[in-house]
């Protein structure tokens, strides 16, 4: 909005006009021009180039406070680049970005005190014990969580005295998350947090993320696991070729919610397939044709993976 005011500087008539302009623009713009200062994250036209290749090419994104947003996309689609611009690690080449109302390129320590960052690479080797690492990290914040409570939350209480290097892959990742949340962040970045987890560890991790959501933490999650995005995210965004191909609730992505259902069954020894917008009526009709069970009957909507693969296939 500041961009508009210089034109009216010193002119009474124009000042009156100026006071009206921002409102008009905001209404007219919708999700367009200006970043939304009330959003946890608001991005307009983000561009990041490496050489002459644009890794991120005009990305728009709004993440509401209290939301869990999952960013999906194939390797090289610009996920980590985008997240690292938001975290303040990388400089952008264009566009407007607000994270908790602040431009990350100018984010100071008070801004960082409100963020929790779980990097893809994790933290390095250390000679310190798990509890010592957490206590040290907690001391950088004025209102940190109790390190022992955080250990309990991530299920590392048994490992409190262990050195970081003696932990298993899954335990290390939980330590990364513990370090990310000990400062009581309003906004938590999770870059591929469950890579290398076994299924049980992932379920435990999901429970942890849900309990953080209940505490009001906004989260931006990047992941390769579509079931993870579906289980955790309020909304998902699919990145392809440096732009958001679509943003939707997981159940509606790629028109999933309204896509034709696929009914499969066996008739006269032949596997049959039918696409229908009215699967209930179709199955009722089918049931009438068979004396008992319809052999090998399944009714399926496209999975998140189906629509995701289709989207990135279309875009890359």
């Amino acid at each position: 909005m500041g961009a508009l005011t210089p034109a009216g500087r010193g002119h009474c008539v124009l000042v009156q006009k100026d006071s009206l302009l921002p409102t008009t623009r905001k209404l007219a713009a919708g999700p367009g021009r200006e970043p939304d200062p009330d959003a946890a994250i608001s991005v307009r036209g983000l561009v990041k180039r490496y050489g002459d290749r644009a890794a991120v090419d005009g990305l728009d994104l709004d993440i509401r406070r209290g939301e869990i947003f999952a960013l999906l996309g194939p390797n090289g689609a610009g996920k980590t680049t985008t997240v690292e611009v938001l975290e303040g690690y990388r400089k952008r080449d264009g566009g407007d970005v607000r994270v908790l109302g602040v431009d990350p390129a100018r984010g100071g320590r008070r801004w960082k005190a409100q963020l929790g960052i779980v990097l893809q690479s994790g933290a390095g080797d250390s000679q310190l014990s798990v509890r010592e690492l957490l206590k040290a990290r907690a001391s950088y914040y004025a209102e940190a969580r109790d390190p022992d409570e955080v250990l309990e939350l991530v299920g590392l209480t048994d490992k409190a005295g262990a050195r970081g290097r003696t932990l298993s892959g899954g335990q290390r990742r939980r330590l990364d998350v513990a370090l990310g949340i000990v400062g009581r962040p309003r906004l938590l970045f999770l870059d591929e947090p469950t890579t290398g987890f076994d299924p049980e560890a992932r379920r435990q991790f999901w429970a942890l993320i849900r309990s953080l959501r209940d505490l009001g933490t906004t989260m931006l999650l990047t992941t390769h696991y579509l079931d993870e995005a579906e289980a955790l995210a309020d909304r998902v965004g699919v990145l392809a070729r440096g732009q958001l191909a679509e943003v939707a609730v997981p159940a509606a992505l790629g028109g999933r919610g309204t896509a034709p259902a696929v009914v499969r069954w066996t008739e006269d020894g032949v596997r049959r397939t039918a696409e229908t917008a009215t699967p209930t009526a179709f199955v009722r009709e089918l049931a009438a044709r068979f004396p008992g069970e319809v052999p090998d009957l399944t009714v399926a909507r496209p999975t998140l993976e189906d629509v995701y693969l289709k989207m990135i296939g279309d875009n890359s």
């Binding site: 320590r109 008070r110 310190l128 950088y140 209102e143």
Partner: protein
Amino acid sequence: MTTAAPERTALPPLGRVCLTRAGVELKEFFRQRESVVFTLVFPVILLLGLGAVLDYDLGAGVDFPQYFMAGVITAGIVGASLQNMAIHIAGERSDGTLKSLRGTPMPASAYFVGKVAQVLAVAVATIVLLLLVGVLVYGIELPSGADWLTFAWVSVLGAAACTLLGIVVSTLARNGRSASATVTPIALVLEFVSGVFMPFDQVPGWLQDVAAVFPVKWLAQGLRSVFLPDALAAREPAGSWELGTVALVLGLWCVAGLVLCAVTFRWQDREG
């Protein structure tokens, strides 16, 4: 959660964060066997080994161990500062420790205060160990009176210059491993041409001139003034200990190092 909630912007006092960082750095160093052995124990092995093998008579009743005290303490200080900083900061940059810290509200100054505390602790421990071994094994003569003061300021100024240079080298290195491969030969060559392992007047003149550009030579020379009788000042290139020049050159290296650090320091490996 509502957007009307006040933004939390409080930060802990800087002193507390610095104390935390100092504690972290001391634990990181003294719990790692390799760093303790190579930085703390290696100079002692040098003193015992070379002291047993080399036998110079330097005149004025000075034997090789007495002469070598200044040299081996120089090597100890260079190990605790230049080598230690170059290798470990490059390692912390490569393994993501620095990047992770950069994402927290920890002030950069607290990180460097922690490193200074580590260098101080390691350097003091090395010096005490070397003096103990020197006195007990070789019966070297400890400095007296005002020499202690010279000992203190030369050590502090030399360690400061080498610490800053170590931080610069850590940034020039591509990663942790290449930092070790880069700085170790640099340190050894600098020590060699600075009269650490042999009397400085046996170093060829042109090499003496090369050495005089770098801080290690001046650190060693300042320390020789502490451990050797003034009669041996005649064997120095200028015929005196040149303590004023020692202070000047080390001070200039501190300033240059500080500027280079501020310009070159990175929290992560290069983008791209």
